[in-house]
């Protein structure tokens, strides 16, 4: 079991007006797609995907959407946080031509994935989707890697959603695998149009324990846990989920519809 540790923020990077990356110095053992549970012990602890990890440090990238992310967003270098993980399943790292499709603040975990894909000899193409140019995340970081990046902005003069951009690429190119992370409706629309291509999705559910014991994050009708068997799920599993794109459970366990809002804003 990974231990809980209390670490000071080693570095903070502004990514957009409401997104920041917090880095911590610690040799965390983690794979891309995994998440950590972070708390300031002042009431609340939330899951965040790793946006990078390696060389004795790791980072998360968060969007300010509510009370807890506001506290994280406003934290300063040296502030201490209780961190446990890394938890959950991770992306299977292919070595062929792969397409990564991300939307909003679910893009950063794909950056960590790209590092591993490149190390495994894969040829990644990244569709980096955002509402607007200043909401675009990690554009420069992806640029620094030897891969093909395509940005898709919804409010551009020629609006383009990440899904549309991805489908265009899929029509004209052969890919061995697809990785996607982002708002659930975006993921649902993407996979209903991607033919027979093998895919893996990063799926978010309400998480309390993060370790598969509380039942908060289970997925119908399989009863698997998004925090243990997920958050990264392969196509074979996703195809069996009756709730995917339809409903999720809130903090009491009640079902609520999945709406069109983007990840980290729901």
């Amino acid at each position: 079991m990974p231990e809980r540790i209390t670490l000071p923020i080693a570095d903070i990077a502004e990514e957009s007006p409401d997104v920041r990356t917090l880095s911590f110095t610690h040799p965390l053992a983690a794979e891309p797609g995994q998440f950590v549970m972070i708390s300031d012990l002042k009431g609340d602890e939330k899951p965040f995907s790793l946006s990078d990890c390696g060389g004795g440090s790791f980072s998360i990238t968060l969007r300010r959407v509510g009370p807890f992310t506001r506290r994280l967003f406003d934290a300063r270098r040296g502030d201490l946080f209780s961190i446990r993980g890394a938890y959950g399943s991770s992306f299977f790292v292919h070595s062929g031509r792969v397409l990564l499709v991300g939307g909003g603040c679910a893009v950063p975990p794909l950056f960590f994935l790209c590092r591993r894909l490149l190390a495994a000899g894969a040829e990644p193409t990244v569709v980096n989707g955002a509402r607007s140019a200043d909401a675009l995340l990690f554009e420069r970081r992806f640029q620094a890697l030897p891969l093909h990046q395509l940005t898709a902005l919804e409010d551009a003069p020629e609006p383009l959603t990440a899904v549309d951009a991805a489908l265009r690429l899929l029509q004209n190119n052969r890919f061995d695998a697809l990785y996607a992370a982002g708002p659930e409706m975006m993921l649902a629309s993407l996979i209903s149009n991607c033919g027979a291509l093998d895919y893996q999705l990063l799926i978010e559910r309400y998480m309390k324990c993060g370790i598969g014991i509380c039942g908060s994050c289970t997925l119908d009708p399989l009863g698997i846990r998004a925090c243990v068997e997920g958050p990264v799920l392969p196509r074979a599993t996703v195809e069996q989920l009756t709730e995917f794109g339809v409903y999720r459970r809130n903090s009491s366990g009640a079902r609520v519809p999945v709406n069109a809002r983007r990840s980290c804003e729901q």
């Binding site: 009431g43 609340d44 209780s82 119908d220 366990g253």
Partner: protein, 318 residues
């Protein structure tokens, strides 16, 4: 008492166990609050080999529970203060109805309230559902800020609630007890006399607290939480043994069971059924299958025809 490993192995043992008129495929139970929020997680446990599954404790109305952190790892254990988050009894019973459409494996609905009247109302609602059993959570240590001391701390309170529910419920009744008392046997006797059909012991121990020495704050947002997992197994085994000497109704032994040897230990202590909760954390729900298979091997090796035939510890042991 058997003092030799039998030379000839038997081959025909079964895990089937009678419990309150029910015929369970295995004596293994998913206890309340561990998974059990959705029909699908109950179903997954039933399919993996639980003979009985229990829902997370339900209240009359929706509760979001405590903010995180709601769990923290401790040596060989887990401290939790989930705070009885649940979507309210109506939603819970809807999940139970969906569950029932998929399987015949019995399900117990656990309920929690702060008055005999509300417990009775919950009991009525559960009696009108497809649930098989009703469990009274008299022992949650994590909501004392809201509800005061755990109900199972006093034999009189327990008796009052059980009596009120017995009057209202048409389902067999399990009273779930707290280990955080000086004399659990007295509480168990009170529950039996008031009409409980079975006991479940133990709920989480303590409560306990973990303090972060860098932040100078408790890790759990609730401050304290209930201790579960292997660390508490000796206390659970002793409690079950004490109860088995003191009551005639069957007991679900819960607390720190991680494998078939632990399950056998609970049976010897006097449990009819054995819960597996916190161990699912590291073992996954496949644990129900593993424990079942190894328990069956134990029964065959010892030539016990079924779990109920495992010889119990004699009453003389303190």
């Amino acid at each position: 008492m058997v003092t030799k490993i039998p030379s000839g192995e038997c081959m025909d043992a079964t895990l089937r166990t009678r419990f309150l008129e029910l015929d369970l495929a295995t004596p293994l139970v998913l206890p309340a609050g561990v998974l059990g929020t959705s029909f699908s997680s109950l179903l997954a446990c039933a399919r993996c080999g639980a003979g009985l599954v229990t829902t997370k404790s339900a209240t009359l109305t929706e509760r979001t529970g405590h903010p995180g952190p709601v769990v923290v790892e401790t040596p060989a254990g887990l401290l939790n203060a989930v705070g009885i988050s649940n979507p309210g009894i109506a939603e819970v019973l809807r999940e139970v109805a969906v569950y029932r459409r998929h399987t015949a494996v019995p399900v117990a609905v656990s309920v929690f309230a702060d008055s005999p009247a509300d417990f009775a109302e919950l009991a009525r609602r559960v009696s009108d559902s497809p649930a098989d059993l009703l469990e009274l959570n008299l022992s949650c240590p994590n909501v004392s800020g809201e509800f005061g001391a755990p109900l199972a701390g006093s034999p009189d309170t327990v008796a009052a609630i059980v009596a009120a529910v017995k009057h209202a419920a048409r389902l067999p009744l399990i009273a779930k007890l707290s280990p955080n008392v000086t004399d659990i046997a007295a509480v168990g006797r009170a529950a039996e006399q008031a009409g409980a059909d079975a006991l479940c012991a133990i709920n989480t121990l303590g409560p306990g607290m973990v303090i972060d020495t860098e932040l100078g704050l408790p890790v759990l947002s609730n401050g304290s939480g209930g201790l579960s997992g292997a660390a508490i197994r000796p206390v659970a085994v002793r409690a079950v043994h004490q109860l088995a000497q003191s009551v005639g109704i069957p007991i679900i032994g819960v607390g720190g069971v991680c494998n078939a040897v632990d399950a056998a230990e609970m049976l010897i202590a006097g449990a009819r059924l054995v819960g597996v909760g916190t161990a699912l954390w590291s073992g996954g729900i496949e644990l129900f299958g593993d424990i079942g298979r190894n328990l069956l091997a134990y029964l065959n090796r010892r030539c016990y025809p079924d779990p109920a035939a495992v010889p119990r510890l004699e009453p003389s042991h303190a």
